[in-house]
């Protein structure tokens, strides 16, 4: 008897937490997303599903832009994180944990502060650009801040550890003897990487993509701090609708559209990459 109850007891605190702080707010927000009205006269439930259509048509650009930035940022983090994770997993020897700590170190500083520090670094006449400009390597009116590059760069920088860690975990699990075996069978180093190590590490990449693409696409801090007029992301719009315009239905409809779009995207992605692969990795 006790054995049968125990698992439920284990899940109880977390389950209650999720119900209270995830399920209930989601139901409320779902309700708000089809309401009509304004803050002064109040909002009333009219099941106006056109809120969703409005959200999509009015802010199509920002949706697409956010997805684009999220994608670009994700690809960049993979490109940067994979070699780092590979190096730590296979070449760092006894200092592995030190290097892992270094990867995590930026998290000890507030997310916003890290982003703001980029403003100083990349200022038009700042420590980075000024010398290059005086040397004549850059045009005088060249600037990085308030460009797409700055926003995508900021996203990549802020979410990099989320990609390094899962890839590292996947690589760490690769049995060196498997690599050895492939080389015994006359695989070149490249072949043994592409045929053995890479496939075994893909679940890590998959997890990393989930952990970076989703928050990157919904991010608004980087666009607000580093972006310009043409870099507004959907997160900024949602923030404006909620906090500035107090148009809760529009904000809720936007949030749900974003959530649905990302769920669909991830589902398609999971199917394409093979969910079994991932489940297998999780089960191991």
């Amino acid at each position: 008897m006790r054995r049968r109850i125990a698992p439920y007891l284990l899940v109880l605190p977390g389950g209650l937490w999720l119900i209270a702080f995830l399920v209930v707010p989601l139901v409320f927000m779902a309700s708000v997303s089809t309401q009509e009205g304004d803050i002064v006269n109040g909002f009333a439930q009219t099941f106006r599903f056109a809120n969703f259509a409005d959200a999509l048509t009015e802010y199509r650009t920002q949706f697409l832009r956010s997805a684009g930035y999220g994608l670009a940022g994700t690809v960049l983090t993979i490109a940067l994180a994979y070699p780092v994770a590979y190096w730590i997993a296979f070449k760092a020897g006894r200092r592995k944990s030190t290097y892992l700590l270094l990867v995590l170190l930026p998290f000890f500083v507030s997310f916003v502060l890290r982003t703001v520090s980029w403003k100083f670094l990349l200022a038009d006449d700042g420590i980075l650009l000024q010398p290059l400009k005086s040397a004549g390597l850059l045009a005088q009116d060249f600037h990085v801040l308030q460009t797409t590059a700055a926003v995508v760069g900021g996203l990549t920088y802020n979410y990099l550890p989320f990609m390094v860690l899962p890839i590292y975990v996947a690589l760490e699990r690769v049995d060196p003897r498997v690599v050895e075996a492939s080389q015994d069978l006359y695989a070149s180093r490249l072949t043994s990487f592409t045929k053995v190590v890479l496939p075994l590490s893909l679940p890590g990449v998959f997890a990393g993509v989930l952990m970076t693409f989703v928050p990157m696409t919904a991010d608004y801090v980087n666009a607000a701090i580093l972006g310009g007029p043409a870099n507004t992301m959907i997160g900024n719009i949602i923030q404006t609708e909620y906090l500035v315009n107090n148009d809760y239905p529009a904000g809720a409809a936007l949030s749900f559209t974003l959530m649905a779009a990302m769920l669909i995207g991830i589902f398609v992605y999971a199917r394409a990459l093979g969910t079994e692969n991932v489940l297998e990795a999780a089960a191991r």
């Binding site: 139901v27 009205g37 803050i39 006269n41 109040g42 439930q45 200022a123 038009d124 043409a230 107090n246």
Partner: protein, 424 residues
Amino acid sequence: MTTAPRDLAFLRGLTQARTRSGSAATPLTRRDALRVAGLSAAALGLAACGVQGRGAAAPPQKDAVAGYWADKKQNGTLRFANWPLYMDKDGKRYVTLESFTKETGIQVEYQEAIQDMSTWFGKIQPQLAAGQDIGYDLMVMTNGIQLGRAVALGYLVPLDHARLPNFAANAGDTFKNRSYDKGNVYTIPWQSGVTGIAYNPKYVDGEVTSIQELWNPKYKGKVGMLLDNQEIANFGLFALGIDPDKSVEADWRKAGQKLQEQRDAGIVRKYYENDYVDALVRGDIWMCMAWSGDVYQQIAEGQDLKFVVPQEGATIWTDNMCIPKTARNPVDALAMMDYSYKPEIAANLAEYINYITPVPGTQALLKDRAAKASGDDKEALDLLAASPLIYPSDADMARLRSYKTLTSAEEKVFEGIFQPITQG
């Protein structure tokens, strides 16, 4: 969002076609009630979380003031929410608050809790809607959309002017009876400021006098504008020679077009919140819309910046003290409000805050203090007493306009026009 039960007229809305006015609803029959009761739990959950409004702003009842204040007593504590750097400070001590405590016996819990209006309103709105204490008895809100909403929703206490003698005696005429709160029913000013143009003379040749300079292609990518819908709308209107306070929808559309041109030409680097100061000091932007006090503080710190009230006009805004309807110590709040209008106190505040003080009598006081001081202190006080940013000249004053007070319906139109420009 409130979780208060919705009225029955609303529940009917779930089962019947809703008419636009809602007036055609028939009385609720028992059958209807049962049908409502039979709705799924989910639908009830949905029904429970509508956001209760209050309808159009009703003018306060004549006896509202007396009715509210009749049974209120001084409690000896005050919880005061204000913006950062908005109270004179000596090390860690708030001098004015200490002297206030000494004089009245009221202990003050002072918090720099307000960073910007929209976030602040977002924080207090659910609590005020539910009739709960927001943790403060006195708060400082800028005139504009959020203050308008707070008034319209009945979130503010009507002030008892019988207890505000110093306000009556010392407030400048321009600070009484402002368009957003005729007769100072709910608010009295804390400090005012001007939204004008700031520029860095290191990069900008000659003097800037016209708002059109913000459209000058010479400064492509080096002009900063403000993110706030009303601020930027005002500048679009000024550029077209329209008084924002008297503008109508057609004017807004024209202003929107003008601002869109500016953006499309690549002139605007960014639509800033209060981070424009850093960008201006660092040289990321050379010229921008700016708030007078920010620029004055930079100048006082030795930065070479200029601030102008453009010839076409500029906006004057006011941060106002007001009492939330759920305040626990409203009498104490009122005492603080009045205390800040004592000329000596107002002068202390002006000396530290560097925005426009609502007590014009402080200028003479500051000149007196300058005459008695020496060295750096004297220099600072002279600069202050003579500064057109703290005491705008009559010519400047004549060019200053208020934000337009918008109805909810107008706000939607306004947002629809200007938000795509700043957040497109």
